[in-house]
Amino acid sequence: MPSPYTEFHPRWYRARVSTWWWLGRWPYLRFILRELTSLAVAYFVGLTLFQLHALSQGPAAYGRFQETLRLPWMLALHFVALLFVLYHTITWFNLAPKAMAVRLGGRRVPDLLVAAPNYVLWLAASAGLAWLLLRG
């Protein structure tokens, strides 16, 4: 392919970036997977809205909705989506120390201590929800 025009130097070589640039290296693939996790988050939001809609339609409609959720392919889909959402959550929490240079007593707080409260709150909220839903 002939080199595109460059001011004063028309023959400088400019490599074209392939559409599949993200397949060549693991860190790039990991990045694309991380970006795709947003779809799983959006899926769960949509699912929750459908669930609320089914609930508003009465016990029979909600029962049918729950039956659909128990189908094997639905369980498999939700398992994969859950993995993606977990990955999404962890990468977001790990971003916190990058975005916030927290200082305490003149010293920068270690990254681990900035990320840790996110995990603690996440576990506390999950435990609270589990208690609410499973207490019978």
């Binding site: 392919m1 002939p2 080199s3 460059t6 130097h9 023959r11 400088w12 070589y13 400019r14 490599a15 970036v17 640039w21 993200w22 060549g24 290296r25 860190p27 790039y28 990045f31 970006e35 971003l95 990058k98 975005a99 916030m100 240079a101 200082r103 003149g106 920068r108």
Partner: protein, 250 residues
């Protein structure tokens, strides 16, 4: 350790080639040699036409950055023997995403233009009289920006960042990290001047946080961290100007 090692070097002559080709050279694999020593050996003993940049050979000038087996590296800081235990040759290419002038030499003009847009220098609204002495800083104030000031403009972070390759307008990791270096400097008063240029799609919001710039940085500058911190500041400033339009900006 093997006595010799084969380097596969990208060659490109704008007068002769349509695109780069690869040429193999067998060089001694000495324990104290870095990739740059091997390139110098080739230029001195095998092919004087091999073209590349280098200067200090001690990781300070930032001019000998190249792709070594697909990874952006300072060739003066990458030992040859780390590649000795394998069959295939070590591939040396010019830094990715930059126009190639010849062989391993890239055009840095675009980078220099982007660097200037970040205004990486101290900006003062009011200079105090010389008689009042220097602008003093506490160790903590120095610590706020020191990490970002270690940048040597080697451009390895540009070669690692896919956004640089996909979006030619993106200012890029080093320039943004240097902008943050001056924004964090207690002597600087130019943060507001930099905001319009950097808090833009071509600036911080172009960064998708791949994080490779930080991984390849030979000086541990952490450009990705600098950009994320800048995003947080810019978002907070935007909220302030939204909630208090009469007085958020100085």
């Amino acid at each position: 350790m093997a006595n010799t090692i084969v380097l596969e070097i990208a060659r490109y002559s704008p007068e002769r080639d349509i695109e780069p080709r690869f040429e193999r050279f067998e060089v001694p694999c000495r324990e104290d040699w870095v990739i740059l020593d091997a390139l110098n050996h080739i230029k001195d003993r095998k092919d004087g036409s091999l073209t590349y940049r280098w200067s200090c050979r001690m990781g300070i000038c930032g001019s000998c950055g190249m792709m070594v087996d697909g990874e952006p590296k300072l060739t003066c800081a990458t030992f040859l023997h780390t590649y000795a235990r394998r069959e295939k040759p070590v591939r040396i290419e010019p830094l990715r995403y930059f126009p190639v002038i010849r062989d391993l030499v890239i055009d840095v003009a675009d980078f220099m233009r982007k660097l200037k847009r970040a205004r990486p220098w101290l900006i003062r609204r009011d200079e105090k009289p010389l008689a009042e002495g220097e602008y003093l800083q506490t160790p903590q104030q120095l610590d706020d920006y020191r990490q970002f000031s270690m940048c040597i403009n080697c451009m390895l972070c540009y070669a690692a960042c896919p956004v640089v390759g996909l979006d030619a307008q993106f200012i890029g990791p080093a320039a943004l990290a240097l902008a943050q270096r001056y924004n964090k400097d207690s002597r600087d008063q130019g943060a507001e001047q930099r905001t319009d240029e950097l808090s833009d799609h071509d600036g911080i919001w172009g960064c998708t946080f791949v994080g490779e710039c930080t991984r390849v940085c030979p000086k541990h500058v952490d450009p990705a961290g600098a950009i994320q911190q800048y995003k947080l500041t810019a978002a907070a400033d935007w909220f302030k100007s939204f909630l208090m339009p009469w007085g958020a900006r100085e």
